[in-house]
Symmetry: C2
């Protein structure tokens, strides 16, 4: 039995085996393992290993045999297709020392599937009706390839397909209910706090004493493009207890950096901004130069965005800034296209096109070209205009074009959010 530092309950070790040579060539990311990791944590199971292994019988059998010696729960993904490369069924049977069995019902289903399409089922497809004796098939609601499970005194193994949608469907339908049997011990519960406007080292130094003295829940800061995520992780017997402890800690953090926390968990700047706009029945419009439509794209990713987003102008050329937004030639000449002055004229012009509650503009040097000694790559100007305010600001961002577009859009969203938050107060 593996050791564990959980308090109370018997820790159940689990592991994931990802099967497929494509994972070892680096062409695809192992998103299945991330999904299953989160799910196992939600079930309160300790995950100790994730192993990726290719379509090689010897190595796969050894990997499963070893997992059997150290983990109570094993989940495999991949290798359940009809071709000769698909060796998971055989490997599991060998590792569990049982023969393969064929399900006549499943053979019939496969034959019917092909028959309905006016074809005869290829012999190889019937392979998909096989499973290790003593186990049982797990019906796939989304495809022909079923998964299977097998249990003996050492462990329980669930074999799922590699196609993410099918893997998730079988996990939710069949595996999740089975795992509840083991859910006697601690649950790992976590919450993300999303911070904008402070760097990772600033967050760490402000919260240093809290971070270093915490053991359960723990706090881990992670830097992302232009934002910092604080992950609070708690291990407790019940969700209620974990949530209580997380809430206590969250309040301590909020007392120090609450102004910089814009959201939680899966929130993004655009979802939070959209929420406040929809709640207050407010509308916005955008005029983008260097972000080139990214801000509009992120806003319109939100279902129902037509209720708060009028639309926008991607004014990439000076010509368009003049002709559509009415920016003066003189202003462009005197201050340059990347200037707070031009940003302000852009929002004024935008408001004339239609009367949104807030019009916002962005102009900047995304890079890699276009920088000067005075205004370097990453120099971004943002302005917004409402009935009572006309504000412009300049920020210095990064060296990389994509990061600059992303971070400039983040800054813009944060300005919109803060304006309507302030109105709320």
């Amino acid at each position: 039995m593996p050791t564990s530092n959980t308090k109370g309950g018997i820790p159940i070790a689990s592991e994931i085996i990802s099967i497929g040579t494509e994972l070892l060539l680096g062409n695809i990311l192992n998103t299945n393992a991330s999904y299953l990791s989160r799910k196992l944590a939600e079930h309160g199971l300790d995950l100790y290993y994730i192993t990726s292994v290719g379509d090689n019988p010897e190595r796969l059998i050894n990997t499963i045999k070893e997992a059997r010696q150290r983990s109570k729960i094993i989940i495999t993904t991949g290798g359940l297709g009809p071709t000769s490369d698909d060796i998971t069924r055989e490997a599991v049977a060998k590792a569990f020392n049982v023969p393969l069995k064929t399900s006549p019902t499943m053979v019939k289903q496969i034959e019917d599937f092909f028959h309905q399409r006016g074809k005869t089922a290829p012999e190889c497809n019937k392979k998909q009706a096989q499973y290790p004796e003593g186990g049982r098939l797990l019906i796939n609601p989304m495809g022909t390839a079923p998964g299977f499970m097998i249990e003996d005194s050492a462990c329980t193994l669930f074999a799922l397909p590699g196609v993410p949608g099918e893997m998730k469907a079988i996990f939710e339908d069949k595996v999740s209910p089975e795992l509840q049997r083991y859910q006697k011990n601690n649950i790992i519960h976590s919450r993300l706090l999303r911070v904008f406007g402070l760097g990772e080292s600033q967050v760490e130094s402000i919260l240093h004493d809290i971070i270093s003295s915490q053991t359960n829940p723990t706090i881990a800061p992670m830097a992302q493009t232009g934002e910092v995520i604080l992950r609070i992780t708690c291990k407790e017997k019940t969700k209620e207890k974990a949530e209580l402890l997380i809430r206590d800690l969250q309040e301590k953090i909020q007392a120090r950096i609450g102004n910089y926390i814009y959201g939680y968990d899966d929130d993004t700047l655009e979802t939070v901004t959209a929420d406040i706009l929809m709640k207050r029945g407010k509308t916005i419009s955008t005029a983008e130069s260097c972000t080139g439509g990214l801000l509009a794209h992120r806003l319109t990713n939100i279902p129902g965005s037509s209720s708060f987003y009028y639309g926008g102008i991607v004014a990439y050329s000076n010509d368009l800034k003049e002709r559509v937004l009415g920016v003066k030639k003189e202003t462009l000449r005197k201050f340059g296209a990347v200037s707070e002055e031009v940003a302000v004229e852009m929002v004024r012009g935008l408001l004339k096109i239609y009367p949104a509650d807030l019009a916002l503009s962005i102009t900047g040097i995304a890079g890699p070209g276009g920088g000067t000694t005075e205004k370097q790559v990453g120099h971004i100007c943002i302005a917004y205009k409402t009935i009572d305010e006309e504000i412009s600001t300049a920020v210095k961002l990064f060296k990389d074009r994509m990061q600059n577009k992303e971070a400039a859009a983040n800054h813009a969203l944060h300005l919109i959010l803060n304006y309507f938050k302030k109105e709320d107060a």
Copy 2:
């Protein structure tokens, strides 16, 4: 010595060990492992296992010991920071059965680093000057934490930091030259062919005989949002030989579906479209409704896009379609905002705003709301207008909002690409 099906040369088995509890919680994707997988393949090394393991000494030591028994090259990432959670140095030393040694030069560097910032180096940071006896430190050009390597009769292990930028910097600088010693056997070389306009099953059925008869190179089709990628993989002694075999196979494929192949390897529809526009000195503009700025965003991701992309209108509301693009109220009423008629009026209005060589518009129902029995979610209309053509088309896409935006932008880019390709001929 592990078995391998490479021809000629002694196969060198390698494996990757990713260290860090965060990998087992599913919050982050293991992009380090993908990067290293590709690099090992480029060096002609067979990668057999990728293992993710948490910050637990016992499990980490066991994982390294086991790797030593089966692989000649081991690369670890993570666990090299200054805190007590960072246990890679100790674990490697134990698995190699040697004590830890401290580099006085590195201690001095760490002290200097803090000194320059007016601080005293915390005791814990000096941990980063340690490495297993018999090994040596690998200087980190991007941060304070160095990596290290150690070699004995069984294997060579490289320990790299977990921060992707630092990991890559040390790999390129220090590890890559070391790996060239082992580069006696076959190189894995691959090429991606990017297909637009055919589904995965169509590609498979057209190429069935080629796919099933090929052993080296092999062909694997992979479906992505609205496109299909064919991966050709070849194992040969030299890059030249591999490229020759890949080219032969590529020609066979091109003879059948050449019209649908728009690019190779890292090409995207936007990079290929941008290339042809820049080469021909042509300009385009866009009017987007349902894609909400995504098309503009993707075009302006290309450095230098200001030379071919004038700008665009994100005409999300009917009001904006009328007032900025001059779409007639009558057309909107009679055919609806999602109609080829409205798409055509949008490009006509767009061309009046400025005379780009090609003006393109998209209007559609991205979902989840807005569908009717007649026009369901995923119903998208695209039009473009040039000096000699005015074309509109309707496509039926998916159920998901994000997929619909992405795929609609793909269709638009493909139309632009084909127009200018045709002009080329």
